[in-house]
Amino acid sequence: MRELLEQIDSWRAEGESIALATVISASGSTPRPVGAKMIVSGGGKMQGSVSGGCVEGSVIEHALDVLAKGEPRLIEYGISDDMAWDVGLSCGGQIEVFIEPLASVS
């Protein structure tokens, strides 16, 4: 989180809404540990990572939807996932990513 604070400050100063994605669980050989975080701005910019680049694209899409709806959600990624062809983890591991609006006032 520490490494993301500056970016969060700067996006907030620009009036961007921000979603926070956190790795909640990881099994098998996964590139980023539980607790790894990335942030996504309402404008679609990202910082940090939750995998070695395997699922970030999908996380950005979910994050934008989370910002639009204002509701958090939990997403599972893994080899057994229906979407394994396009957003699976090629390493064969499984991760769960929790995506929430960050610093919402409500």
Binding site: L20, T22, G35, E71, P101, V105
Partner: protein, 250 residues
């Protein structure tokens, strides 16, 4: 996460105050966050007194344990996260190798302090990238630092009149890593010197010397990366003697 919760986490991180959060992942309170700062200041609720109590108990433990993970509590899935003060590299001896070592440590997210009694070495010009630069004898300089478990101390001052006062302080502290530069022969002589002064083998086993993993390099940058590699191994509970072999076989 609400704005005030985020502000509290942000403030704790910036002040290097340990903090922990619990995020509710299921049920009515999904997305709600409970927060603990410095072992006594709780905030937030999941709306169920029994659950809140269980969460508060785990938050207290998380402050010690560190790390992150999801758990079931009272039938609800909760994600715990901790925000502990950053690791801290303390270099004794503002020699050439210290310059790239501080650079690498900063990339790794360490706070950095360089200590040297010699004003010519410990200059802002040579260490513009160090968070802190202390011109003092090692024992005086170390006295200014919180020597917690997340501290990695590296003695690069190649001289027993700097080394021994530093080791006297470090061996009595809780620092997680102590490294001291020098050849195998110098390292052996250092151990014998300290043993003669009453230190036990167990105490002396904390000293990594010759410092660093054997990457075969001699340039300051190469030595610096071998030292940081050893610090990473020790922090992750990997025996440095096996670290390179493990990387190969993994």
């Amino acid at each position: 996460m609400k704005a005030d919760t985020y502000a509290a986490i942000r403030a704790a991180i910036q002040a290097s105050i340990p903090a922990a959060t619990a995020t509710c992942l299921s049920g009515d309170a999904e997305g709600q966050v409970m927060f603990l700062r410095a072992s006594d200041s709780f905030d937030g609720s999941f709306g169920d007194p029994a659950l809140d109590q269980a969460v508060r108990a785990r938050l207290l433990e998380k402050l010690d344990e560190g790390g992150a993970g999801a758990e079931e509590l009272e039938g609800v899935r909760v994600f715990f996260d901790s925000y502990l003060p950053p690791p801290h590299l303390v270099v004794i001896g503002a020699v050439h190798t210290a310059i790239p070592l501080v650079s690498i440590a900063r990339i790794m997210g360490f706070d950095t302090t360089v200590i040297d009694a010699r004003g010519v070495f410990a200059t802002e010009e040579r260490f513009p990238h160090s968070d802190d630069l202390i011109e003092a004898w090692p024992d005086e300089g170390l006295a200014e630092i919180n020597l917690h478990h997340g501290v990695a101390a590296v003695i690069l001052a190649h001289d027993e009149k700097f080394e021994d006062p530093a080791l006297d302080v470090l061996l009595k502290s809780e620092v997680g890593y102590i490294g001291a530069i020098g050849s195998r022969k110098t390292s052996q002589e250092r151990l014998e010197r300290l043993k003669a002064r009453g230190y036990t083998d167990e105490q002396l086993a904390r000293i990594h010397g010759p410092v660093g993993l054997n990457l075969g390099g001699r340039a300051p940058e190469e030595v610096a990366i071998s030292i940081m590699a050893e610090i990473v191994a020790v922090r992750n509970g990997v025996d440095p003697a096996r670290a390179l072999a493990t990387a190969k076989s993994a």
